[in-house]
């Protein structure tokens, strides 16, 4: 499956190599700096770009899980602390005592995870999977491995669409998908079984089609698609490398107690 290249925004124009380096640098920076302000900045910038890229509806589910993680982490960690941390008591809310040590723990975990949820979502949802496959093959990864990795991202939307269609069809036949928990859970099996069975029904034809197109041939695979390496790519790689080096250096110096 060949994915059409979208060059409408700067982020979408960047090549997969630049984006992967940016993703690595950003991830290590958030984890190694352990700085709440840096994490908040990454999170807010990512949210702004997600809105700018009109990916809000795709991000909705992740945003809801971020909010639920925030609520549970602060509510539970804030209240459940070890005996020797109880002198950090800060107040009672809804009849539950809260402690600073617990709040600090929640902050540590939440601001390590939440910014990356937005940042990596943005990077990976704007990567062109065909370009990523080409980049991986050119980087020396065996063709089959690159195919398996990129195909995993491409099959998901196809199967999700199948699921929506099957769910609509089952609803039309009278399946109830709303109501109490038991009713909703009962709707799971009549939807997922046809989705999985349909997907498996296509496997044999797909295998023969791929074999006919030479998937199994032993010769070296070549690609026609050229990957762009624009000025924007070079700038992105340079900035990412700088961030990466800064994050690693900070971590090393911190572990040596030099900072």
């Amino acid at each position: 499956m060949i994915q059409k290249r979208d060059t409408s925004t700067l982020l979408r124009r960047l090549s997969p190599g630049s984006k992967l380096l940016l993703a690595l640098a950003g991830t290590l920076a958030v984890i190694f700096f352990e700085n709440i302000w840096f994490s908040i900045a990454v999170m807010l910038i990512s949210y702004a770009v997600i809105l700018y890229e009109k990916m809000g509806s795709m991000f909705k589910l992740i945003f809801v899980s971020t909010v639920s993680m925030f609520v549970f982490m602060y509510a539970i960690y804030g209240a459940v602390v070890q005996e020797n941390q109880k002198d950090t008591y800060i107040g009672t809310y809804l009849g539950i005592p809260y402690y600073q040590a617990g709040i600090d723990k929640a902050t540590h975990f939440f601001f390590r995870i939440a910014p990356l949820m937005a940042f990596l979502f943005l990077i990976f949802r704007t990567i062109n999977m065909t370009d990523l496959g080409v980049w991986m093959t050119k980087a020396g990864l065996p063709y089959k491995w690159a195919f398996i990795f990129t195909d995993s991202f491409m099959v998901i939307p196809v199967l999700s669409k199948d699921m929506e269609q099957i769910m609509d069809a089952q609803r039309a036949r009278g399946l109830v998908t709303e109501g109490n928990l038991m009713t909703r859970m009962k709707a799971f099996v009549p939807v997922i079984v046809p989705v999985v069975a349909n997907a498996f029904a296509k496997v044999q034809d797909q295998a023969i089609a791929m074999d006919t197109k030479g998937f199994n041939s032993k010769c070296k695979k070549t690609v026609y698609r050229e990957l762009p390496n624009t000025k924007e790519d070079k700038l992105c790689k340079a900035l990412s490398l700088l961030l990466l080096v800064a994050a690693v250096a900070y971590k090393v110096l911190k572990s040596l107690n030099k900072i």
Partner: protein, 198 residues
């Protein structure tokens, strides 16, 4: 569906692997998505691993499970959650070897043996991983509240995580292996034969 010769099947093995691994990843993802859409309290994201392991064998299932966690970590942005791939590797190996050795045939083998083994593995490995990634509380209502309650009565984080996850896993993985078994039973023999003991 026409039966394939042994030679053709062996030649197509690599192609089947290249199709089945991403398919397992996608089924896991869609399972989780459907569970969220229905507002269910479970995960239901290991159906693909179990089906692929039953059909293609333990190691292909295990790779599919691991890749699902990597792909889902990248798509969801929570890189550290890729560590949960260890849970899915176990699911693939258990279901795959049980099928290979002929213990994935009857409903009781699936619901009692496979379910208990898979659930135990997932609770035992999921608990320490969750404490590394999230500090124990992962944002799912049922598990988080149970962990907090167990910690409040003195259990340590990993033990509380294990005890809280085990009943949820028994339901979650029970549904996953049962659906895998239903689908596996409906598949044509030539596809099922990929994972039969030689």
């Amino acid at each position: 569906m026409a039966m394939q010769s042994t030679e053709s099947k062996s030649r197509l093995w690599g192609t089947y692997v290249a199709i089945m691994i991403p398919l397992g990843v996608a089924i896991n993802y869609v399972g989780g998505l459907l569970n969220s859409a229905l507002g269910g309290p479970l995960y239901l994201d290991s159906i693909g691993t179990a089906v692929v392991a039953a059909v293609m064998g333990p190691w292909v299932g295990a790779i599919s499970g691991l890749l699902f966690n990597i792909v889902s970590a990248l798509m969801g942005g929570n890189m550290m959650s890729a560590l949960f791939g260890i849970c899915n590797i176990g699911t693939g190996l258990i279901v795959g070897y049980m099928t290979k050795w002929g213990f994935f045939e009857k409903w009781w083998q699936v619901l009692i043996v496979a379910n208990v083994l898979v659930s135990f593995w997932n609770a035992a490995t999921g608990s320490p991983i969750a404490s590394v990634v999230y500090g124990g509380v992962d944002g799912s209502a049922g598990t988080s509240v149970s962990i907090a309650a167990l910690q409040a009565i003195g259990a340590d984080l990993v033990t509380a995580g294990f005890i809280a996850r085990m009943p949820i896993n028994l339901i979650d993985k029970g549904i996953a292996v049962l659906i895998a078994w239903i689908v596996y039973k409906r598949l044509p023999e030539n596809i099922k034969n990929f994972n039969k003991k030689k």
